[in-house]
Symmetry: C2
Subunit: 544 residues, 2 copies
């Protein structure tokens, strides 16, 4: 058995569906490392087409699959005798689509590895057919090597099968979305796997934002005695060359992967915003500032994502906007080194309400409040259309869950970075960001939140305190607690809690029309649940 | 064996989640027929909770299930010795939720029937457990009776099991959404089933709109020699008392179920709009007329749904609105007997563009076009908020698929009846509606469609002719044809077809924020597919 194996891992940021661009990236990496003659170069799960949780949506388009096959054959032709190229893509077996890794060398296909649990549309028959056709291990310099893809790494059956193969080195090739609350592939999990199986483990994860998902990277190596090495840091597209020896591993840079949870969340927001802008060919970001914390944090994310030169900040005061808010917004723009454009909506707002007053004797408070928010949206969308700038919506999760946001008003936008961030975490993120350098004025963080759509009043006059509100929402929506159980946990009256739950259900219609945003806090399936609109009636028996 | 069996079928319109209200309806029906002493009274699939395609979204809320159980026990107590009450609901077996029918008599549970294929979360173990516990047939007056629920009626295995039970009468208890293109439960299918099995079949279907679904009713009876009887018509909430004798059936009214496809589609739109308004407690409908056919048809649907007294029609001309359009809209309002409110947006539109011009030297055409549509939306939403009226969005499927609609402009609204109606069918529906009585002026149907957001120009200057456009969209989206295949079918150049496909993918971001509307034309899963935003890149190889 030879002693060394040279590996290149590519923590790649694929763009879903852009097969041509992904191919170009793969090609560049292969060429970049050609001279170093690695034994193997590995790309993440579905790297050629981009990871999509709902692959079945694509394969029916025959042209999409045709393009995928065309570029796979190009990758095959790129491979030489020195290096095995491993690329993830999807693959048709007997009219079903599978998530596979293909291994090429010397312009030939060596073998393929299959993800088993994919969309649970795998018939045993097809899988057996697949396994008969392809070798189940690769042997490089005497090392017996195998691959597991995505969720398969959690399957006892799959792990057991790997054990039987008596492998030395196992690659875990994944595209796991980042989640603030749950670390899907923890160090402990990988350490346990490597020591129990007495093998080396290379964990390669995708990186990058793709609509509501964000992949965090953080690719790692675990040796057979449980030592771990961070190969490529969080949230960076980067490749890494390293050499595995009998009992050691050598590589150029090592990174710490001990980062605070809140700093990773902030980085996730930045990368997901940047990728949304770039992958969708926007030329910049436009954002409306209110002087409040949500828009302040959004501005800071936007600037960290694409630079202040491409971010346009606008404040549109009405008669209800306080001087304090204008000052705070201006101060933030000074801190981050950008200019704040100020356009008053007062006149146009006045005309809208005047016209409406001709139709109705007196206008409801909610009409006047929403009018202001919508006048602002019309301006912002005008700028967005004119410049091909992405309008960021600044609504946060607490607002969307309670409907404390105006549809076609402040909810408007192509992307809502804070969509899944509870208000209490908006505060934590702002404080965290200020620890790097001060970008959000202290006063914005300290003052009581207010929508300033009417003369007086704060958010917490209409809603419970945000700390309690977020707790109720968390228990009810994320934890699925019964109302009785929530009552036992929260020092509030029955009615206040029911009021929040009622708000949650009766504002489903707004969420149905809300912009895309990264799902980082909620379980994705929780978030995507669709309820019937105005689904409060089942609460009636509790509301008595 | 006795000769007669008296049956009550309730083609019920349940409201999803409103267990209390559904219970009240069930109770009223039981009481209504008490004196007639039917042997059995049957309610549709999931009638107590309302049909939901995604039941798994509900059961995690412990309070929801608790309420369901509470009212099931109330229904049990309502049953007397004369009549078996059969109600659909969901039911927990070993921590999994199932779609079941419960049969009560004399305040006791007789048995339950289970839907097998539900959400495919049925473990065989649970099902066996279930079958051991409950009788698999009911016997009434010597008749052996069984039940199949929903999709189970298409299962060969289930049908085979029913055969083994040697039943005389089979109830098919369903909640199948209506679809324009596909009749899921055809007469032929039911006739074949009844003659092959030599049994009587009672098909009971739910009725009513529920967000994007609409159930059509059309409950029918098939005797063992294949004669069919329509018991309750399409799109009506109604109950029906009938007597089955050895070789005959007797009931009061018979209905024809031979209706044109287009008339059923129109009725589906009307009922789904009416139910959305009523089930969500709106007090009326507000709608912006443009003088074009989409808003004209929408107005006619709105008035047929809830009556002209509760519908407010508004026209908001700008400098680009022709006198012809204003006349056409006025004429329609005369025809339907309502008044048209006219508010000019010209001044406000001028102010918005003036402000924006201060920021940019010259405004792009698209900015000015969208501005007008958004000014209108601000007014309409003001009226909606003031009166608690539902704003109808008038965008049709062809517009949504090509992005030929303004987000936060004419796309705005709580409900979009035409969301899934191709433009060519918008014309057919309008012509059909006029055959009942004239409600849409001829000129609106005959003139060339135009958005009137700029000085001159028609829709078909920007897009292919609607007849071709709808064909391309149908082949690409619904039929999943390859581009090559579409080319062979459509007399257009490669580029024009690719342009349409590109528009489809690049406007995904608009559809992600589009209002709810009834899915009547597309396959529901087709419609709900989510693509990555601006997913056009895979076409790049074809665009060369």
């Amino acid at each position: 058995m030879k002693n060394k194996i040279k590996v290149v891992l590519v923590q790649m940021n694929s763009k879903l569906g852009d097969i041509k661009q992904n191919f170009d990236k793969i090609k560049r990496q292969i060429e970049k490392f050609k001279k170093k003659k690695p034994n193997i170069i590995v790309f993440p799960e579905l790297s050629l087409i981009g990871f999509c949780p709902d692959l079945l949506n694509y394969h029916p388009y025959p042209d999409f699959y045709k393009t995928c096959c065309f570029y796979m054959s190009k990758i095959c032709k790129l491979s030489n005798k020195d290096t095995i190229v491993v690329v993830g893509h999807f693959f048709k077996v007997r009219n079903k689509f599978y998530n596979v890794l293909s291994c090429f060398q010397s312009k030939k296909l060596l073998t393929r590895f299959l993800k088993d649990d994919f969309q649970s549309n795998n018939s045993k028959k097809n899988i057996n057919h697949f396994y008969k056709r392809y070798e189940s291990i690769l042997i490089i310099n005497g090392y017996r090597i195998s691959f597991l893809i995505g969720e398969d790494i959690f399957s006892r059956e799959k792990i057991y099968n790997e054990k039987k193969k008596k492998i030395d080195l196992l690659f875990l090739i994944c595209s796991f979305p980042y989640s603030f609350r749950k670390n899907r592939v923890s160090d402990n999990f990988l350490k346990k796997m490597s020591t129990e199986m007495k093998i080396r483990i290379v964990y390669l994860n995708s990186v990058g934002g793709q609509d509501e998902l964000i992949f965090e990277g953080n690719s790692r190596y675990f040796d057979q005695v449980g030592r771990s090495f961070c190969l490529i840091p969080y949230f960076l597209e980067k490749s890494c060359f390293f050499t595995i020896d009998r009992n050691s591993i050598s590589f150029k840079e090592q990174f710490s992967h001990h980062r605070s949870k809140i700093s990773r969340l902030y980085d996730a927001l930045v990368l997901s915003t940047r990728d949304y802008v770039n992958k969708n060919h926007f030329l910049g970001i436009v954002i409306g500032l209110s002087g409040g914390i949500d828009s302040a944090l959004s501005l800071s994310i936007a600037i960290d994502a694409i630079g202040k030169e491409s971010v346009k900040a606008i404040m549109m005061p009405s008669i209800n906007t306080s001087q304090e808010s204008i000052e705070d917004a201006k101060k933030q723009c000074e801190l981050v080194g950008t200019t704040l454009e100020v356009i008053s909506i007062q006149k146009i707002f006045g005309q809208f309400s005047c016209q409406l007053k001709k139709m109705f004797k007196s206008l409801k408070c909610v009409v006047l409040e929403n009018l202001q928010a919508r006048c602002r949206a019309v301006f912002l969308m005008g700028i967005s259309n004119q410049n091909r700038y992405l309008l960021l919506s600044t609504s946060n999760r607490s607002e969307l869950y309670t409907g404390y946001t105006t549809i076609y008003g402040d909810m408007s936008g192509g992307f809502a970075p804070l969509k899944d961030i509870p208000k209490t975490i908006v505060f934590s993120l702002s404080k965290y960001r200020n620890t790097i350098n001060k970008v959000i004025p202290e006063n914005i963080i300290l003052k009581k939140p207010t929508s300033e759509l009417r003369k007086k009043g704060f958010d917490e006059d209409d809603l419970p305190k945000y700390s309690l509100l977020d707790e109720i929402l968390f228990y009810y929506i994320d934890k699925k607690y019964s109302i009785q159980k929530i009552l036992s946990k929260i020092p509030l009256k029955n009615e206040s809690i029911l009021e929040v739950i009622k708000l949650f259900h009766s504002n489903e219609f707004k969420r149905k029309q809300s912009p895309i945003g990264p799902i980082l806090f909620s379980n994705k399936t929780t978030f995507e649940k669709t309820y019937p609109v105005n689904h409060t009636s089942f609460l009636s028996s509790f509301l008595k």
